[in-house]
């Protein structure tokens, strides 16, 4: 008998077993590897979303802090965002309104890319989110210290009593008044002196102002406060209705109804915009900034809404460029429009 036939079957059997076990384990490893990759892929997608969201937040915060608005098509690349990736954020103007108080609407898109530096620059996952944002310019073109879209009704025109400084006293539609201390500091140009009435129709004044009052009253105006709180903090106030002003204040005050001042002396630094009448009932009402009255009735055509300078009172409206700037700063800025976030997770 040849020797090789006496070697037995131990070696082939061992080899068979080893190959079999190796194949089983290899199959298990392949499956486990696929499962691990699926798990990592899920994790990478979540990370990419976090990175995109982080890039979006950084972009908004950056322009908010600068207090500047992005150019149309602006693109910013954030090179390193935890947990490991990059974000490219772009902003496009969706709406460029003509109304100076209306915001410019942007569409901001952030593309987050998850990268594992140990594995090169190849993207492991991408995620895109979009967010509407707005830039509130808060700029008002100063036409006059006191703009009464309809007219000014002087109850008492005796000297130093019941008079609007600079106003001659005769009524007429469309009153622009700027006389006296014209403090055009803060880079503001000087505005011309007006001591006039009957500057034209309410329509002409409306076109001058570029304030979409109908939109403000029908859709509301997002101010810091809807009641008169902390009135010395250069905030913005939107009072939907009438307001009796009996404290000094500063900032942007928008009153849709009638504004009545009362007390011995009331001083408001900033901008006051009144939809209906302004009744100056305080002993002395002083506005250092700009004042608009009669916007509601003047624009909607419901008849006159006069600014009433009550008897035995003094009303002084001074144009003050610095105060106008400070007041409008409260509504100036770049920020996300709440509740307009969209996940575009299938976009690459």
């Amino acid at each position: 008998m040849p020797a090789r036939t006496e070697r037995g079957f131990a070696l082939p059997l061992t080899l068979f077993v080893v190959v079999l076990i190796t194949m089983l384990l290899a199959a298990a490893f392949v499956r486990a590897g696929a499962d691990r990759r699926l798990g990592e892929s899920d994790g990478d997608m979540v990370d990419a979303l976090t990175i995109a969201q982080s890039g979006l937040a950084q972009y908004l915060e950056y322009y908010s802090r600068l207090n500047q608005r992005p150019a149309d098509g602006d693109s910013v690349f954030f090179a390193s965002i935890p947990p490991g990736g990059t974000a490219t954020v772009t902003a496009h103007v969706l709406r460029m309104p003509t109304d100076t108080l209306d915001p410019i609407v942007y569409l901001v898109q952030s593309r987050g890319t998850r990268i594992d530096p140990a594995m090169g620059a190849a993207a492991r996952a991408r995620r895109v989110v979009t967010q509407f944002a707005e830039w509130r310019s808060g700029s008002l073109t100063p036409h006059a210290a006191f703009v009464a879209v309809t007219n000014v009704d002087l109850v008492d025109t005796t000297a130093n009593r019941g008079r609007a400084r600079g106003h001659t006293g005769s009524d007429g539609a469309g009153v622009l008044i700027t006389v006296g201390a014209d403090q055009s500091a803060c880079g503001r140009p000087a505005i011309p002196d007006y001591d006039d009435n009957g500057m034209g129709s309410a329509t002409r004044i409306r076109d001058l102002l570029e304030i979409d009052w109908i939109r403000i009253t029908t859709e509301g105006y997002e101010a810091d406060y809807t009641t008169l709180q902390d009135p010395r903090t250069w905030s913005s106030y939107f009072i939907d209705g009438d307001l009796t002003l009996d404290v000094d204040g500063s900032g942007l005050l928008v009153v849709t109804g009638v504004l009545t001042t009362t007390g011995a002396s009331i001083v408001w630094d900033g901008v006051v915009i009144v939809g209906d009448s302004a009744v100056f009932g305080a002993g002395t009402t002083t506005i250092n900034g700009m004042l608009y009255t009669g916007l509601d009735r003047g624009l909607i055509g419901q008849g006159p809404g006069p600014a009433i300078v009550d008897a035995l009172t003094t009303t002084q409206v001074y144009y003050h460029g610095c105060n106008v700037d400070s007041a409008m700063t409260s509504v100036t800025g770049f920020a996300a429009i709440p509740n307009t976030w969209l996940d575009r997770w299938m976009a690459q």
């Binding site: 008998m1 298990a28 496009h92 309104p97 939109r215 859709e219």
Partner: protein, 280 residues
Amino acid sequence: MSRGFTLVELLVAITVAAVLGVGLTRLMISDSRFVGRQDAMMDARQAARAAVTVLATDLRMVTGRGGILAAVPESVTVRVPAAFGLTCQRSADTVYAVLAPADPGRDTTQNGFGIAKLESGGYDFGLDPVDTVMVADTTMCAAVGVRLPPDGQLTQLLGARIGATRANSPTLSVGQIFFLYREMTYRFAPSVMVPGRVGLWYRAGDAPAVELAAPFDTTSRFAFLTGPGLSVSETPPGNLGDLRGLELRVTGMATQEVPGDDGPRRFSLTTRVGFANRSD
């Protein structure tokens, strides 16, 4: 000369072979079960992940107030935004609008969307369906300062129901931000794909329900997040407008039971999803 094997040699050989065979068999059975368990666990994990991925993506965009139509631990019905837009012209019963780029997976050319307009405190929802028609002429939007973003679409939103002529529908003015949505119902209910188990079903509007993933354990459900601290509750609040998010408690199951195990393998995945479009 070949003398063959003795009885003792044969007995020893058989004994050794038996020992080796038993050991090998046990090893292979053990390995097979290990592989089977891994497969089962992968099945369970994949079911759970699939459910959470889909649910989280849709639920994250819900607006909260007005965005939740119904909620119980086994099921939620929500309004899921498909695309946001900005109106640029309105006639009696038609609105022209620019749609921001939408997710490629959401076809904004289909009909029967719901519509919601942005207000300062949240959204007002329309009651009737809206049809969309793509438009090429952008001049009407340019006239009011509305621009078409890259990959955006100019769209005609059809239906008097979104105009001022229908008392029960929101009025869209020019420059109004809005979104188109689908009403989606997600429900953990008996599975058809894996009979005897639970599946995750979804239904868009009045369309037939579709089974999205399966199988799941019967404990899979929604929990409810309320309050500024996102407190977890097993039951929905009385006022669904108070919901600020959902907790997804998903337990995926293996399709097959591994021999020797006392039931299918399970994989639990719990994820909290806050409503990103509820800022209050």
